[in-house]
Symmetry: none
Subunit: 401 residues, 2 copies
């Protein structure tokens, strides 16, 4: 029995409400030794006041030193052991476009690429063709029929698309055909078990036809396959936590991640205040709200320290509206760090706060990486956050007699 | 998949260099309530300055409350789950004398002992015979032939030796023959499974001959067998972490431990400064250096508080030479505590620091047990140290998409 199985046994439905506010890529680093991080630089009177009433700490998304992608980072926030429940790239990509996967589907990411007359790869991204061209090619490839299996090809963006194979007993123990470098041909499929050999048979038949269709479409005259992944349904928030859960997220990937754990996906607008407006409108219908802010991460990825500071301040300004709804529990944290100085995800732990009437507030009065070190949560793995949120909402029964 | 399997997937080779400086038995205790530990007593301006630029914390070698031997303590430092990878005593003893074990070898520690005319043990250590006598007896026992198995006996020190059985499908599910008290005879072997019964057959045949050989050598007229252990090769630093790793250690046991995880063993002299001289000379050839200081532990074991303080100060004086090499990551900690007041290993957590350009330094400005409580690492298990060192050296890819 793991932690989540225990929660499944202990959780009960109550009317109390939890808001989990996730600032994507929240954690940061100072620009120079002894300096302040983005969050420490931002003027955040409302988050600081909330921290003063909360229990604070630092969270490792997966484990110390591990830099998570968005998939594992969010699974941990949702209380799923991110290593046990790790999602293959193909499945994640399909979730990102809200493709309705079924149990046993094999989802694979497609990268359109360029090959020369000898089939040698000259550009692994086909010159980043337009998304319109991607749509056109995906529609062509979607028409291919392979006896014995159902096939769906969907465009994602630029040179990226997804193909899903739906059939009986298909395995996913197949390595990428992408050699990761130019100057080589695509790698032939080498299945690791009989179920995957079955998949490989269908994929090869499809590939033969796909090659002919793509041949005249230089620079997208070939494709590479990455991240073969079989889809298994995830337990839902309703099953495991007895929560009526809603996702308020403006980006497809996070809406997809929320959907696979059974959250309702709400129309959430495009601007920061729209998130809270959506929350206000849906307030009476749910007991859990996942509110996702993307722009902190985007600014970090772009290396734009000041923009990240500004997005954090924008979120801070919304806290009074959030608190006026009188939520029973508020959690504020991120899925991983994205320090502007690194221009990408990092392993650094995330500041986190849990507010409730019974949280046993600590002495932290500032919501920041440095201040949260001294918080009552200490340093813990993110997977423990959902159990603590449920406990603070008085939604967990006693374990054992 | 465990933590280390994950690292195997994520690690990549880069030119950045990590130095792990291990002060054996570093953690201590005050001589009187309210007093200072050995480390807190020592004048360590260089370690304190390094701590100010680092992220600090307290590490539990195995888990809270567990006092480790040198084997598990170092496996944890090397990033190996010390419970999963626990090494039998026989294997550890063989490693300590650099015996070249092969996969499937059964290594057993020998304690020469004294028995009376009825075979009752009167001294479990044979009056701590000289190491020369031990060598003579081991050479005699090494000559015994047992059909179906290869046998090697090697001296260790005083009354201690090692015997290795090499054959097909030998099991190690055998309890010690040492009853742990005088006044009883050695315990007969009672194998727990068929493979161990096979081992027991060979061991008993060998024991019959060994008894006859030892009979005239009072007080070493008998032997006890402890720590039956089958050797399985460990994953190496090259395989798991993509590191070119070198060990700079002056004591055989630690050289042996480093060797079994694939480190190159460097000639390291006998004095503290020799460690850094060796480091300087090998700097260009490796990306990871394990630098082991034994004398902190020896002083603690001897109950010599002041000598331990003095060794720590000796190490502190070497820090400028270490830092002038411009390592990308420096880790300073120990494998376990050896408080002089306890005169032995203890369970107390170890102060630890990780220095790098992106470590997110905390507010700790002193390298000590007390100051590290407030560090940004919090309190964590030692097994997380290697992943953090790799992350700080930017040697880990992102987990999941």
């Amino acid at each position: 029995m793991d932690y989540q199985d225990l929660l499944r046994d202990l959780s009960r439905e109550t009317p109390s409400r939890i808001v989990m506010l996730v600032l994507d890529g929240l954690g940061g680093l100072a620009r120079e030794p002894g300096g302040k991080t983005e969050l420490e630089t931002a003027n955040t009177p409302n988050l600081d006041a909330l921290a003063a009433q909360s229990i604070c700490g630092l969270l490792d998304p997966i484990a110390p030193g591990i830099t998570p992608g968005s998939g594992p980072g969010h699974l941990a926030l949702f209380g799923f052991d991110p290593i046990r429940w790790n999602m293959g790239r193909g499945v994640l990509e399909a979730c990102g476009i809200n493709f309705p996967l079924r149990h046993g589907d094999i989802a694979i990411r497609i990268n359109f690429c360029t090959v020369d007359g000898n089939g040698i790869i000259t550009d692994r991204r086909a010159g980043r063709i337009s998304t319109d061209k991607c749509k056109e090619l995906a529609a062509e490839l979607d028409k291919i029929k392979v006896p014995g299996v159902e096939l769906m090809v969907r465009p994602v963006k630029e040179h990226r698309a997804v193909v899903v194979f739906r059939g009986e007993d298909l395995g996913d123990a197949l390595k990428d055909t992408d050699p990761q470098v130019v100057g080589k041909p695509p790698i032939p499929l080498a299945p690791h078990d009989p179920a995957s050999a079955k998949t490989a048979g269908f994929v090869n038949t499809w590939l033969d036809q796909a090659k002919k269709i793509l041949a005249p479409h230089h620079p997208a005259n070939m494709l590479l396959l990455r991240g073969f992944a079989s889809y298994k349904p995830y337990p839902t928030f309703a099953e495991v936590y007895k929560l009526k859960a809603a996702a308020i997220a403006q980006y497809p990937m996070y809406r997809g991640l929320a959907q696979i754990v059974g959250m309702d996906i709400l129309d959430s607008g495009t601007e920061l205040p729209d998130l809270i407006t959506t929350l206000e409108q849906a307030w009476d219908k749910y007991t859990f709200f996942f509110v996702h802010v993307k722009k902190t991460d985007s600014a970090g990825e772009d290396g734009d320290f000041d923009r990240k500071v500004s997005v954090i301040e924008g979120v801070d300004a919304l806290i009074p509206r959030l608190m006026s709804l009188k939520p029973d529990v508020v959690v504020v944290t991120g899925d991983h760090s994205t320090p502007a100085v690194i221009k990408g995800h990092s392993w650094h732990p995330l500041p986190a706060l849990i507010y409730s009437a019974c949280c046993r507030a600590d002495l932290v009065t500032e919501f920041s990486e440095q201040a949260c070190i001294a918080g009552g949560l200490g340093r813990m793995d993110t997977v423990s956050l959902m159990p603590l949120a449920l406990a603070n909402a008085q939604k967990l029964d006693k374990f054992g007699a």
